[in-house]
């Protein structure tokens, strides 16, 4: 079925919606709402709304539309590309839509699902799923809901929600709007793979309820969306192919695609996600492992060896380049306790960090496949760090965050001398067979340019973050030039200009590296069909 009808909501009184009005008041008292983690900062914003339910949100959308005022949508503002930073008009913060609405077992899919308001954070969702306590449902006291909860609690195993972007304080809705991913995307896929349904407020203020698996693009690539007045709008699915990598660039498009997928990763351009149904995944005990290697090359050998080992399933596969290890070693010398790890071995030239299933009390576990994959490239498991208790897993997580934190610290120190200076971090991914060619491009260009840099991140998905640490504004300029070259090269290799951060406002200039003008025009046509006035999230994805 490719036709769907949006529903009007019982309209709340627009005047009753909590708000702050006028730039002076917003700028003075609500500055945190005017920026996100990219540090892009708004310079004008006339309204800041805090709707408490879908009806209030719909009232705001309709009123703003009637006045022709554009509306930017903010979640937890953990994004890195300025997606929630208003350029003009109003800002609507969804933070009050934070209730868990249901927990249910989908017997046909044999999985537990949670229906949650868009402002439930990933960390709260996981805490509830793992502890099997859902205070919102317990408070509601509905007998059927409590019975389902009791059934969930009686399940012998544990469950979790796999998508793990670095900021677990992110709102669920925001992660859906950006198709967020993280280290565990290597095994479990990105957010898209875990979304089972959405409720979306459209630019006309009506509600679209879209379960996954019900509405698919017609054979000629169309969706027809009727409003409550039976007015139909045709949405023509773009005909480009998505890259064979993880990707958050541009609207998702595929033949016979599910309508849910059009909204996932659309960065709020097509509607405002208010409620999300997600699947939970059974959780098995894990062991984290840092395997030290002699060099970057040997680390890449190990990555290929681990990926090529049939029957070996890793949860994530991350990389620390030689320069990253050197920086961590310097930090460890200064603050050994903050690092929380034993001294990094002297002969470590790089490292690969991964996680695998491990039951500490099982007697019949066989890790010969892992040993083979490691020994094949001349390494030994003796030269590793490993831990599986919860406190040890947390210790590895702290270690993982230590690197970006150290880079940020370095940048902020240099910023004192050069206020315009900032970190340049790439977010490019390429297909499996292009990991080494892309690495060679990075290494040669960066070393030739004499820049200070390091690499880390999701090497399992060929998504290595290159961090340029400019020493002055000249470095900064050279870095920006190289960034453009790298983005073009990643696309030439069949990859993406934004694997996980999204496009937002900061990376809108890179969209044309990946898509042709006619393809961008197709995306804009989708936007026009659903938001004819262009009122939702102006400035995101498309250069204005």
């Amino acid at each position: 079925m490719h036709e769907i009808t949006s529903q009007p909501l019982d309209l709340a009184d627009y005047r009753q919606v909590r708000r702050v009005q006028g730039w002076p008041a917003i700028n003075e008292q609500y500055q945190a709402y005017l920026r996100d983690e990219s540090k892009l900062t708004s310079e004008t914003c006339d309204y800041l709304f805090f709707p408490q339910n879908e009806a209030e949100l719909a009232a705001v959308v309709r009123e703003m539309a009637s006045q022709g005022v554009p509306l930017t949508v903010a979640g937890a503002r953990t994004g890195l590309v300025g997606g929630s930073v208003p350029l003009r008009g109003g800002l609507v913060s969804l933070e009050r839509l934070n209730a868990v609405e249901a927990l249910y077992y989908a017997s046909y899919a044999r999985e537990w699902r949670v229906r949650a308001g868009c402002a439930v954070t990933l960390s709260d969702l996981n805490q509830m799923a793992m502890s099997k306590r859902f205070p919102d449902l317990e408070r509601a006291g509905d007998q059927a809901v409590l019975a389902e909860l009791a059934r969930y609690q009686a399940e012998p195993g544990d469950f979790f929600y796999p998508p793990d972007p670095t900021e677990m304080s992110a709102f669920l809705g925001g992660t859906v709007a950006t198709n967020a991913s993280g280290a565990r995307t290597y095994r479990y896929g990105a957010t898209r793979d875990w979304v089972r349904g959405l409720r979306v407020i459209l630019a006309n203020g009506e509600l679209l309820d879209i379960p996954r698996g019900k509405y698919f693009a017609s054979s000629n690539g169309r969706f027809t969306i009727f409003d409550s007045q039976s007015q139909g709008r045709q949405v023509l699915v773009p005909d480009y192919s998505m890259p064979r990598t993880k990707n958050t660039s541009g609207f998702y498009a595929a033949p016979h695609m599910d309508l849910v997928d059009l909204f996932i990763g659309s960065e709020g351009m097509l509607g405002i996600i208010t409620t999300v149904d997600v699947a939970l995944c059974p959780r098995t005990p894990k062991c984290s492992l840092v395997q030290f290697t002699g060099s970057d090359e040997q680390a890449l050998d190990l990555v290929e060896s681990l990926r090529g080992q049939d029957g070996l399933q890793l949860d994530f596969l991350e990389f620390y380049s030689q320069k990253a290890i050197e920086l961590l070693r310097r930090r460890q010398a200064e603050e050994p306790v903050a690092m929380g790890m034993p001294p990094i071995p002297e002969d470590a030239g790089a490292a690969v960090f991964f996680e695998l299933s491990f039951d500490p009390l099982a007697v019949d576990q066989d890790f010969s496949l892992l040993a083979q994959a490691v020994e094949r490239v001349g390494l030994s498991l003796q030269n590793s760090w490993a831990g599986y208790e919860m406190r040890e897993l947390a210790r590895f997580k702290t270690f993982r965050h230590m690197l970006p934190e150290t880079v940020n610290h370095l940048i902020s120190e240099r910023k004192r001398q050069y206020p315009g200076l900032h970190k340049l971090g790439t977010d490019l991914a390429v297909p499996d067979d292009k990991l080494r060619p892309m690495w060679k491009v990075y290494q040669e260009a960066l070393d030739q340019a004499g820049l200070e840099w390091l690499a880390f991140g999701h090497v399992g998905n060929n998504h290595v973050h290159i961090n340029l640490i400019p020493r002055d504004m000249e470095d900064m300029q050279r870095g920006l030039e190289l960034y453009g070259r790298f983005a073009a090269q990643a696309v030439a290799f069949g990859g993406t200009v934004s694997a996980e951060h999204g496009i937002g406002k900061i990376k809108a200039k890179f969209l044309k590296e990946m898509f042709t003008e006619p393809q961008i025009a197709q995306m804009k046509a989708v936007k026009r069909a659903l938001d004819p006035q262009g009122l939702l999230n102006p400035g995101n994805i498309f250069l204005s």
Binding site: S131, K132, C287, L289, Q291, P336, V337, M339, G340, M341, P342, P360, L361, V363, F367, L370, S380, L381, Q382, N383, S384, W385, A386, G387, Y388, E389, M390, R391, E392, R395
Partner: protein, 265 residues
């Protein structure tokens, strides 16, 4: 040289809550770990092993079958052998019955011990009694609250730097001796994955009360002089004072003036 390290599995204390209705610890969903002070004790044993040839470390734990996990951890970190002393008849043991059982276990599995290392206390019960009681039962000297220890050059005595109320003392005792550890390295050891796999090939045996040469009256609740009647969280102290509606500047001044009034600054 034979070293015995007594280890205990405990709930990860930062997460433990007391059920206000039953007055018991809520243990569901709380991770179990090797007691940190026992890990310090093991750390000292491993240092001695590193500095001395032919040292064999036996880790002993008294507990339910799942306490095997704590022994596995000790084996991963470098102990050579693990012994779990487990029996339903041990249920309800107080510190005395526990010390008696552990001392008997040491005699049963490593009678020729030279050094027994224990943590100064377990972070769940906090009694700090089992170690001293074991030393009394075994009739050997004891040094509590050790922070550093090394064998004397002839290998017959142990020199221990220990914490006291006013500072530190350095004591020596001839072997065999029992020492409790109150400090170790700030950064815990981290095994390699090879160590974790190798630990599963090391000897880890389980013995029951039958192997201990103790009478039924000496075991568990029957052998205990004390019983825990009730556990309850302490009364919350003074309520916090919350500063609201102040600018950061005003709030800073308010806090400074409070701290100054109370002679903190």
């Amino acid at each position: 040289m034979n070293i015995v390290v007594c280890v205990k599995q405990v709930p990860e204390i930062s997460e433990v809550k007391v059920n206000p209705e039953t007055g018991t610890l809520v243990r569901e969903g709380v991770a179990s770990i090797l007691n940190p002070f026992c890990e310090y004790a093991l750390d000292h044993a491993l240092r001695i092993k590193q500095a001395t040839p032919d040292v064999n470390i036996t880790a002993i734990s008294m507990g339910p079958p799942q306490a095997r996990a704590a022994l596995l951890r000790a084996l991963e970190l470098g102990a050579d052998r693990g012994v779990l002393v487990s029996d339903r008849r041990f249920a309800g043991a107080d510190t005395w019955a526990t010390a008696l059982t552990l001392a008997a276990a040491v005699r049963a599995v490593r009678e020729d011990f030279d050094l027994i290392l224990v943590g100064k206390q377990a972070i769940d019960g906090d009694t700090a009694q089992v170690g001293p009681e074991m030393a009394e039962i075994l009739g050997i000297p004891q040094i509590m609250y050790g922070v550093r220890m090394e064998l004397t050059p002839n290998g017959k005595r142990l020199r221990v730097k220990r914490e006291s109320e006013n500072g530190y003392q350095v004591l020596e005792a001839r072997l065999p001796v029992l020492v409790s550890a109150s400090k170790g390295e700030a950064i815990r050891r981290l095994p390699s994955f090879a160590d974790i796999l190798a630990a599963r090939q090391k000897p880890l045996e389980m013995i029951t009360a039958d192997a201990l040469n103790l009478s039924e009256e000496q075991l568990g609740l029957q052998g205990s002089y004390t019983q825990v009647v009730k556990i309850f969280p302490p009364q919350a102290k003074k309520a916090c004072r919350k500063l609201e509606g102040l600018s950061p500047d005003q709030a800073g001044r308010e806090i400074t003036s409070f701290l100054s009034q109370e002679n903190f600054i």
